[in-house]
Amino acid sequence: MSLGSRAAAVFGGAARRAAAIPWRGIVSDSLSRAFLVAKTLCAVHVVNAHLCGVAFVLGPSMLPTMNLTGDVVAVDRITARWGSVAVGDVVLLLSPENPRKTVAKRIMGLEGDAVTYLVDPAKGDESKTAVVPKGHVWVQGDNIYASRDSRQFGPVPYGLIQGRIFCRVKRTPFESIISGHQKVLDLSVKRRSSVESSFCQFASISAIYKHVCWYNCCYLTITAGRTDRPCFCNESCFDMKFL
């Protein structure tokens, strides 16, 4: 056979095989599968953004309620959108200083409330009072020694709140976030010389290299032997617990 006729035979065979493949079926099948994936992603987005979302919270500003190394929490979006967030709730909000950062803080005052706060507890007992304007809330971290909150940037507009944290995921069954003004008052820092047993319930730090001062005077973390800030308890902190 000549070269031309051999080439024609090869191409003819390939064209016949290509025509035998059910293109329409494959295209419609893949389109419907892609559409199914798109529908699933849209449903995930709707649930996450409008009903209940999941977030990862880390940092020292909500110690001892939240872990320093991070907690997976469930965020309820409906309460925040409805406007029925209450004092004592832990909320997720966009930081007024950087809109790309989401922070978790506790609400200490709603619009119209007069909030009294310690300006800088590491440097003395000075306290100020502020009235929260309409449409704003006052937020503070539980660990007031290491938290940038309304004491620095003032009351935040309610519109920045993204959701209310109602649940923390642990390896054991869910445990609900401490919500409520009473417990928050127990954790507020006052210099005392006696050990507060209420502190024991809230410490949830699980990494073994972190030490937390069990006296209710400071919520420091001493990581691997290095002190982040001097503890000024009246008693010496030799009772640091190894967690």
Binding site: L94, E97, P99, R100, H136, G159
Partner: protein, 170 residues
């Protein structure tokens, strides 16, 4: 069995449509009806009575800008009202974080703090904006208006406009 089957199919399709519509409206593009005169003549407000409310401007807003919160001076933006989180306002963004702005009607010069912006309406006479409630956090911004899509004789792109001589970036 026939009508129930059709009803079930219709319900499924409409739920799918709603979910997809909500996702697109939350993440990519949305339509916003302009009420209020604070952005005249850029937008013409709709009268509050029906059927006059169909005559107001319908604008297209994009949400891609919310990914990195990068705006330019003079953009028209949507944002949640700082004193009432359920209301959405449409105003023009005049100054970005770090800019110095001269507040009109007083000779004070204000520096826009980090993470905040200054918004003003084009119709200065009846606009409730940053001149009353101060700079707003960028986290309240919900989108950027790019086009007017209704009524057909007002279809156009929304231009960027910066007031002369009132802002400085140093």
């Amino acid at each position: 069995m026939g009508p129930w089957n059709n009803l079930w199919l219709f319900t499924k399709k409409s739920i799918t449509g709603i979910i997809i519509g909500v996702t697109i409206s939350d993440r990519y593009l949305t339509f916003v009806s302009v009420r209020g005169d604070s952005m005249h003549p850029t937008f013409t407000a709709s009268p509050t009575t029906f059927p006059g409310s169909l005559k107001g401007d319908l604008a297209l807003a994009e949400r891609f800008c919310l990914d990195k919160y990068r705006f330019s001076n003079g953009d028209v933006i949507l944002f949640k009202c700082p004193s009432d989180h359920k209301q959405i306002f449409v105003k023009r963004l005049i100054a970005l974080p770090g800019d110095w702005i001269q507040v009109p009607e007083s000779s004070e010069i204000l520096r826009i703090p980090e993470g905040h912006c200054w918004v003003e309406g084009d119709n200065a006479a009846c606009s409730w904006d940053s001149r009353s409630f101060g700079p707003i956090p960028l986290g309240l911004v919900r989108g950027r208006v790019t086009h007017v899509v209704w009524p057909p004789w007002r279809m156009s792109q929304v231009e960027r406009k910066i007031p002369e001589g009132r802002i400085s970036s140093y």
